[in-house]
Amino acid sequence: MDAVLDNLDVFVEGFTTTLSLTLLAAAGALILGTLLAAMRVSPVPPLRWFATLYVQAVRNTPLTVVFFLVVFGLPEVGVIVSFYRFAVVALTIYTAAFVAEAVRSGINSVASGQAEASRSIGMTFSQTLRLVVLPQAFANIVPPLASIFIALLKNTSIAYAFGVFEATQAMNRLINDNGSDVIAIIAAAALAYLLLALLAAALFSRLERAVRPA
């Protein structure tokens, strides 16, 4: 236990990075995922094809492979940024595919008459989506989004293997320095992940109640 208490600052530093990775990638994935969902329901076939291909390809690729392609692939074409940013990019790319599916199914849950009515008063595709369909879809998007973002929180741990000092790497460092307290350190890290996930779940369930139609 001492190894945990003596090194709380290392844990805090690691989990701060875990949290910031999660929040940035969540924001990125929300934007990219919504765009992809919009493309999937758009009237322009090439956009639909692209978004479908993206979602299928990314969803069926292990996250570690996505990390590999981003961290070691992008430099091959001259893109070199910090490993932290690469991690945000990899997590965003990956999570966006799941967000896109959640948003798309939310869109499909809105009666088609809503979109027709919107188009018939002269609103464009993007106005229809933004002002009429998505606000109504939102209540149906929030529940799956909660599980996607909790998965994202846990997925940030992959970044430990790609040069980012986050919670799992903090845990690893402590394990190395304190070979006698391995189980206590792992248990502490697991508990911290669990607490963060429960916190996220609680926030989402409040949000869910707030957006549920009367």
Binding site: A117, I121, G122, M123, P135
Partner: protein
């Protein structure tokens, strides 16, 4: 002098193997009220929906006020803003209040200021008789009230023509008249209208012309009095005998 506003020429449309519109030619003049009737499955709803391109056509030409319907995009959206549409199932925006339903289009499409849009919106709600419900949500209204809001929403765009796709078919009988009354007053006020309906009373009272469709074709097109007293085709006679007996 009649001035054509909506013109369909040689319009064909298929749903898979089903030929739902067969060589449709139809001209609606400015200020004219055309009622489209026919048995279900005759293609009359589809016809109505092709006019603002909610349904695309396979061949033929549709013009509104001299302009052919453009492909999906900004231009089409602008044109749709000039064509009001009222649906069988109302399709009010469920997440907006009655007033917001009526002001959304004017603000977002026509770029009106909120205050102006609301003033005009309240006027229109007054006109359709539901000014006191402005702040309610659609789900809190009866079907007849919802449909009247839908009419006000379409009118708020100051359309050149109004399309009605079976506007009373989803209503309880006691609410049908409140909607038909609004439509009749619109017709009397000179609005150009294309109305798909089963309400023969409305057709007699308000239509300038009745178009009878069957199996995807326009079978007959004449003034109401002539159509209802001496239809020229057998199919129209048969149809009328079925619906007028009860």
């Amino acid at each position: 002098m009649a001035e054509p506003l909506v013109v369909l020429e040689g319009v064909n449309k298929h749903f898979g193997p089903l030929h739902v519109l067969k060589d449709i030619d139809l001209t609606v003049d400015r200020g004219e009220v055309v009622v489209v009737i026919g048995p279900s499955g005759s293609g009359k709803s589809t016809l109505c929906r092709t006019i603002n391109r909610l349904e695309s056509v396979d061949s033929g030409r549709i013009t509104i006020d001299g302009k052919p319907l453009p492909e999906e995009g900004k231009e089409l959206a602008q044109l749709r803003a000039q064509v009001g549409m009222v649906f069988q199932s109302f399709n009010l925006f469920a997440h907006k209040t009655v007033l917001q339903n009526v002001t959304l289009g004017p603000m977002k499409v026509l770029g009106k200021k909120k205050a102006d849009a609301e003033t005009r919106g309240r006027e229109l709600l007054e006109r359709v008789g539901i000014a006191n419900q402005a702040d309610k949500y659609p789900a809190q209204l009866s079907g007849g009230q919802q449909q009247r809001v839908a009419i006000a929403r379409a009118l708020a765009m100051d359309p050149k023509v109004m399309l009605f796709d079976e506007p009373t078919s989803a209503l309880d009988p006691e609410m049908i008249n409140e909607v038909l009354d609004v439509m009749t007053s619109l017709a009397t006020g000179g609005m150009t209208m294309v109305v798909v309906t089963h309400e023969m009373g409305f057709a007699r009272r308000a239509a300038n012309r009745v178009v009878f469709m069957d199996e995807g074709s326009i079978v007959e097109s004449s003034v109401p009095k002539q159509f209802f007293t001496s239809p020229s085709s057998d199919r129209a006679k048969d149809f009328l005998s079925k619906i007028l007996t009860h």
